[in-house]
C-alpha cells in the first residue's frame, strides 16, 4: 500500500510539474497583459547588463580598467529600477555618495598614516563612528525619503576605502578606476531608462490619482440605483451580486493607495520634465488629493454596510427620498468626474462644470432636508416608523458627508 503510494506520488510528479509550469505561464501572461511595460523593463535590464559586459569582451577596454569593470555590472543590477525616477534617484545617490565617501576615505587614510603603528586602531574607530552615524542618519524621515540609498553607499564606500590595505597612491588609481566604471554603469542605466520606453513615476502618480477619483465617481454613480433597488433577492445572492459589480468594490483599492502614492511622488521629484509635466510639477498636491480621496473612500466603506439593510419593499419614506438621494449621489459623481478629467488634462478645472454639479448636489441636500421636515405628518398619521427609516436617514447623512468631502477635493484640485 505504502509502496504504491510512493510510486503514485512519483508518477504524478510530471503532471504536477506541468500544472505548476502552466500556472507560472498564466501568471506571467497576466502580468504582461496588465502592464506590458513590465516586460519591457525586464528586457531593458537585460540590455543594460549585456552592454556593460561589453567592457569585458572588448580587450582594449578591459586592459584599461581591469577587474574594476565588474563594478559597472554591479551598479547596473543594483541601480536599475522600474520607474525612471527611481533609477535616476539611485544613480545620482550612488554617484555622489561614492565620490564624497571616496574622497573622505582617502583623507582618513592620510590622517591615520600620521599615527604610525596606531593606524588600525584609528581606522577602526573612524569606521565604527561613520558606520554608526550614517546608519542613524537613515532614521531621519527626510533623509530616508530622498537619500537613503546614498547614505548606504556612502558608508559602504568609506569602509571599503579605509579598510582595504592598499597604500595611498594605489588607492587613488583604484578609486579613479572604480568611480569611472560606476559612472559608466550608472550612465548606461540612466540613458536606457530615460530613452527606451521610459516609465515615468510622475505619469503613474498622475494616472493613479485620476483613476482613484474615477473609481470614487463610479461608486457614487452606481450607488443610488443600487441602494434603491428593492429586488427580492435573499441576502446571500445580494452579496454575490455586489461582488459582481466591480465598481462597488473598486473604492477599496483607493483606501490602500497611500504607500504607493507616496513612493511615486518621491521618485517623481527626481524626474526631468516630460510630456506635459514641468520639472518642478507640484507632486505634493497629488498627495493632498490622495488623502482626501481616501477620506471619501472611508465614507463609502461606511455606506456599504447599508446595502442589505433595506426592507424587501420600499416604504413610502424610501419613495420620497429616493429622488433627492439619487440626485445627491449622481451629481457628486459627475462633479468628481469633472475634477478627474480636469486633472487628466492638467487644466484649471473649468470651474463652471464641477462647481455646477456640486451646486446641484447641494440643492439636492436642501430638498432632502425639506422632505425630512415634512415627514412628521406621515409619522403622525402612523404611516411609518422611525425605526424603519433609520438606516435610510443614515445613508443620506453619509452621502452629505461625501459631498462635503468632494467639495474639499475640488478645492484641492483647483490649487
Amino acid at each position: 500500500m505504502e509502496k504504491t503510494n510512493v510510486i503514485a506520488h512519483f508518477m504524478g510528479f510530471p503532471g504536477k510539474l506541468k500544472d505548476k509550469v502552466m500556472e507560472i505561464i498564466k501568471k506571467t501572461m497576466k502580468i504582461g497583459k496588465d502592464d506590458p511595460r513590465k516586460i519591457w523593463h525586464a528586457a531593458k535590464v537585460g540590455l543594460a547588463l549585456t552592454l556593460v559586459s561589453l567592457f569585458y569582451y572588448f580587450r582594449p577596454l578591459y586592459d584599461g580598467f581591469g577587474q574594476s569593470a565588474i563594478w559597472a555590472v554591479l551598479t547596473v543590477v543594483v541601480v536599475f529600477e522600474f520607474t525612471a525616477g527611481a533609477t535616476l534617484s539611485k544613480c545620482l545617490n550612488r554617484g555622489f555618495a561614492t565620490l564624497l565617501a571616496g574622497a573622505l576615505g582617502v583623507g582618513a587614510k592620510y590622517f591615520a598614516d600620521l599615527f604610525g603603528k596606531g593606524e588600525p586602531i584609528v581606522l577602526g574607530f573612524l569606521v565604527f563612528t561613520l558606520g554608526a552615524v550614517g546608519t542613524f542618519t537613515r532614521f531621519f524621515p527626510h533623509m530616508k525619503r530622498k537619500y537613503d540609498y546614498g547614505i548606504l553607499i556612502f558608508v559602504l564606500t568609506f569602509s571599503l576605502v579605509t579598510v582595504s590595505g592598499y597604500r595611498v597612491d594605489e588607492i587613488l588609481e583604484l578609486a579613479h578606476q572604480r568611480l569611472t566604471t560606476i559612472l559608466v554603469g550608472a550612465a548606461t542605466c540612466m540613458i536606457i531608462s530615460l530613452v527606451v520606453c521610459p516609465v515615468w513615476a510622475g505619469e503613474d502618480l498622475h494616472k493613479l490619482v485620476c483613476g482613484n477619483l474615477d473609481k470614487l465617481a463610479s461608486f457614487l454613480e452606481g450607488f443610488g440605483s443600487e441602494y434603491f433597488s428593492f429586488s427580492e433577492m435573499d441576502e446571500e445572492s445580494e452579496k454575490a451580486s455586489i461582488k459582481d459589480k466591480g465598481f462597488l468594490q473598486a473604492y477599496k483599492t483607493v483606501l490602500n493607495s497611500k504607500a504607493i502614492e507616496e513612493s511615486l511622488a518621491n521618485f517623481a521629484w527626481w524626474e526631468p520634465g516630460h510630456g506635459s509635466f514641468r520639472l518642478r510639477h507640484p507632486w505634493k498636491q497629488y498627495l493632498k488629493i490622495g488623502v482626501l480621496a481616501r477620506e471619501c473612500a472611508c465614507h463609502f466603506q461606511a455606506l456599504t454596510s447599508y446595502f442589505n439593510s433595506n426592507p424587501q419593499a420600499p416604504t413610502e419614506f424610501h419613495k420620497r427620498i429616493e429622488e433627492a438621494c439619487t440626485r445627491m449621489s449622481l451629481e457628486s459623481s459627475k462633479a468628481l468626474k469633472e475634477l478627474a478629467s480636469s486633472i487628466k488634462t492638467i487644466t484649471q478645472p473649468s470651474s463652471s462644470a464641477a462647481e455646477t454639479h456640486l451646486q446641484n448636489s447641494r440643492i439636492a441636500i436642501d430638498d432632502f432636508k425639506a422632505i425630512l421636515a415634512t415627514t412628521k405628518t406621515s409619522l403622525l398619521s402612523n404611516k411609518l416608523d422611525l425605526l424603519e427609516i433609520f438606516p435610510a436617514i443614515t445613508v443620506a447623512s453619509i452621502l452629505i458627508d461625501v459631498i462635503n468631502c468632494v467639495d474639499k477635493i475640488s478645492a484641492a484640485v483647483e490649487e
Copy 2:
C-alpha cells in the same frame, strides 16, 4: 545696500549654522528618546563593520583571503537591517542566491567554452536572458514579498561570474573565497542582530496591533462624553479642543498602518521563536485583525464629522439617547480593551470578559432602538423636529456599525 546685505548674510551664517546644528541635535534626541533601539542599531552596525574589518588588520587572515575580504564589508553594510527578521531574510537570501548563481555561472562558463570563438556571444545571450527573466520574476507578488533581494543577488552574482574574464579553475578558487567572506559577513550580522539587543519584527507587529486596538478603544471611551458635552464653545475653540484631545486623533495612525504591518509580518516570518512567540506564530492573523481595525477606524472618521453638528443645548431627544449611546461606546471600548489585552498576553481571550461587554453593548443597541420606537410620541406632540435629531441618529447608527466591527475583531482574535 547690496553689499551690506551680502555682508549681513555672511555674518548671519554662523548663527544659522548653529541653529541648524541645534535643530539636528534636537531631532536626534527625539528619535533616540522615542525609540532607543535605533541608537543601539546604529552602534550594532558600527560594531559589525569594525569586527569584519579585522579581516584586514589581521595579516594571516588577510593573506588567506586577499582582496575578496572586501566582500565581507560590503555584505555587512548592505545586509544589516533594523529588525532581526529583515537581517535574517537578507542574509539567507544573499547566501543561497550567491551559492546558486555561482554554481550556475561556473556551469555557464563551461558551456560557453564549448563554442570556442563564439564564447562572448553565448555568454552575452545568457546574461541577457537571466537578467531579463530574473528582473521579471521580481514582479510576481509572492516572489517580491519574500525573495526580492535574493533574486537581485542571483542576477548580480551570475553576471559577475560569467562576465569576468577568468579561466574556470581560477574562478572556482575565487568563488570559494568570495562565498566564504560573504558567509563571514552574513554570520557576523546575524549573530550581532540576534544576540545584541535584538529588535524582533514579530514583537513590533504584536505591539503595533495591540496598540492600534487600544487606540480604537480610547477613542470610543472618550467619544460618548465628548459628543454629548454641550459646552458653549464656538466652532473654532471646539476644533482646538478636539486637537488637544490626542485620543480622538490617534485613530488616524491606525488608518495608515497597513504598509508597516505588512512589512513587519513579512520579516516576522523569517524570525526564529523568541519570547512567547513560537517559530510558526500565525503572523497572518495579525494582518486580518489589522484590516478590521482599519475598517473600524474608517467608521471613526465618519463619526468625527459630527462633533460640531450638535445644537448649543441638548434637545430632549439627545437627553433620551445619551445614556444608551454612551453605554454603546463605553461597552464596545471595554470589549476592545479586553481583546487587546488578550492579544498582549497571547491567551485565548477569556471569552467571558470581551463577550460580556459586547453583549452589554448589544443590549444598549436594543435600548436605543426601543427609544427610537417611542420617540414618535414626542414628534407628535411637536416637541422635536426630525431635522434636528437627524445627526444624532446617524451617530448612533455608525456606532452600531462600529460594534458590529468590534464583533468581527473579536472573532478574528479568537482564531
